[in-house]
Amino acid sequence: MKKFNEVAINKMETLIKELVEAYGPSGEEAAVRELIEEKIKDSVDRTFTDNLGNLFAIREGAAPLLMFSAHMDEIGVIVTHIDDNGFLRIAPIGGVAPHLLVGQRLSFKNGVTGTVYHEKIKALKELDWPKLYLDIGAAGAAAAREHIRIGDMACLHQPFVNLGGRYMAKAMDDRIGCAVLVEAARRLPGSLPQGVCFVFSVQEEVGLRGATTAAYRLEPDYGFAVDVTLVGDTPEAPLMAVSLGQGPAIKVKDRSVLCHPRVRELMIETAEKHKIPYQLEVLERGGTDAGAIHLSREGVPSGAISIPCRYVHSPSEMVDAGDVAHAVELIEKIIMVSWPLPDSGSGA
């Protein structure tokens, strides 16, 4: 008899699985980029990659130009030292909590896998980066150096699991956003009311860096980040009015952006018109690519569509299948709205 959470996966789930299981810490997004380019190229007019590694996938069209950005990078670690016994010392890439890594498996680009453990400690609060090391099973420094150099990066090693209506994996943040954009692009009709560029950005986790240069290059008229957001629906969770399964969240604000009211309103109107469930998101921590996009050049009216996600930046980030499907639908409908040409001086 099948257990309740052993569920066969469909085409969209296969895409999500491939994306979340790919290797892609900030600055090393090539494998994810190649995968996405392969999946999206038949749905768009052209693709290209910039100096920092951002992937652009463009559907040409009349003005205005909409930019949708989902980031390809995930949190990880970087090797800072290889000791005489072949143990690796590591530093975080992005917001990684040291206690979440203990006992976890990490993988390098070349496939080398290891586990994180810690030196002798008296109390959990002593658990900090200098106490952690990564053991790749090397029997000494020379053996370790055959495979790993200082500066090499590793990310979590965890398979995608379909829990039956909910998905669990590492790097849902933000491969789920990437998957949503790839699927939305695939569903678009032959003729669009305006041009759209899907940007798969790099280095979001270390400070919205890819989106900064991507927005400069693209000069969009509107910007949308598609990313995960935190939820408040778990036991004793910090107060937050976003739950898994209640639909994608239309962002009001986070620490990087106050979403442009016209963008937000038009997204809400679109969701209501098409009876797509949605939630409103006020995120007190964290930022998204919208934070970088809206400050590009002369300013870009920007908003964000978020997929609610539990246990963000852990090895087991969890999202709801319905939220994912509704996010695809919402983005598809947002692209089919005729967006007004932004006129200067029409701020909030």
Binding site: T80, D83, Y216
Partner: protein, 336 residues
Amino acid sequence: MLLEKLSNLPGVSGNEKAVREAIIEQLQGHALEWQTDTLGNLLVRKKGSGSGSRRVMLAAHMDEVGLMVTSIEKSGHLKFRPVGGIDSRVLVSKRVRVGDDRIPGVIGSKAIHLQKPEERLKPFELDQLYIDIGARNKDEAEKHVQIGTYVSFDTACTPFGDGCLRGKAFDDRAGCAVLLELLLEKGGPAFDAAFTVQEEVGLRGARVASYTLQPQYALAVEATAAADTPDTEKERSATMLGSGPAISFMDRSIIVNREIFKGLIEAGEKAKIPFQFRRFTGGGTDAGAIALSREGVKAGVVAVPCRYIHSPCSVLKKSDLQHTVSLVRAWLEATA
């Protein structure tokens, strides 16, 4: 030695004029074009001998950490605040130079005899320190100083020990010296050099310099913390003096472009130049600002290891400086 001269000049962030003028003086008579911009960056173009088709930018910052006068007391003592990252515990009893006229001063505090027993247990905080310029009173002090006057450390750069130099502001006059040497030598690849301002207060100069130069590849040439002192465990020794230039893979401001990271390693290995990795991910450099300029720039960092950085007296090894010149040159030849 060029670095000795540059190290002795005052150039606290926002007040880099003396350093800029000294560098321009060196440029005279060579086939170089240069301009300064609104913020005070000095941008120099070397046409070079090669047929390089890529625009490559090298950046080193002219500014150093220092102090600024924030009030003048009735007694003629000056209260101050740091400009850039300074550990206030290193300031007590240090000699300083105040303002463009380089008036001598000393950072004073309560003598040991006058301290209560409990006061001796804690380092002085900024509010307990003041600059003494030997003025009789406020009126006399005001003849020389006003609020906003810059203060720099008064340390004469001197060679000592086994090929070492001690002095102030090696961060980043060491980088400036490297760039100057590459600019002034005959031949070599074409590149743009940016001597930047206000790095220590947030990579500000590099941001606009890079916007102007629009490079495709960029390297920040820096001085970085060496932690090879007796009390440091090996796995926390960020860099070691005498082990050659430190190649960064990541810091707070940048994840170094992998192509540049590999290119530096290959250049070092091919030319048999000793190098090490900067085994530490804190701190920021001009490369961080340059990488995010316009449509994005592939950027990296090479640094001269330097002990006691951001203090009135730091230590570097001349061989590291020379190897940094060699490594950057080898990388340029392979890249430009």
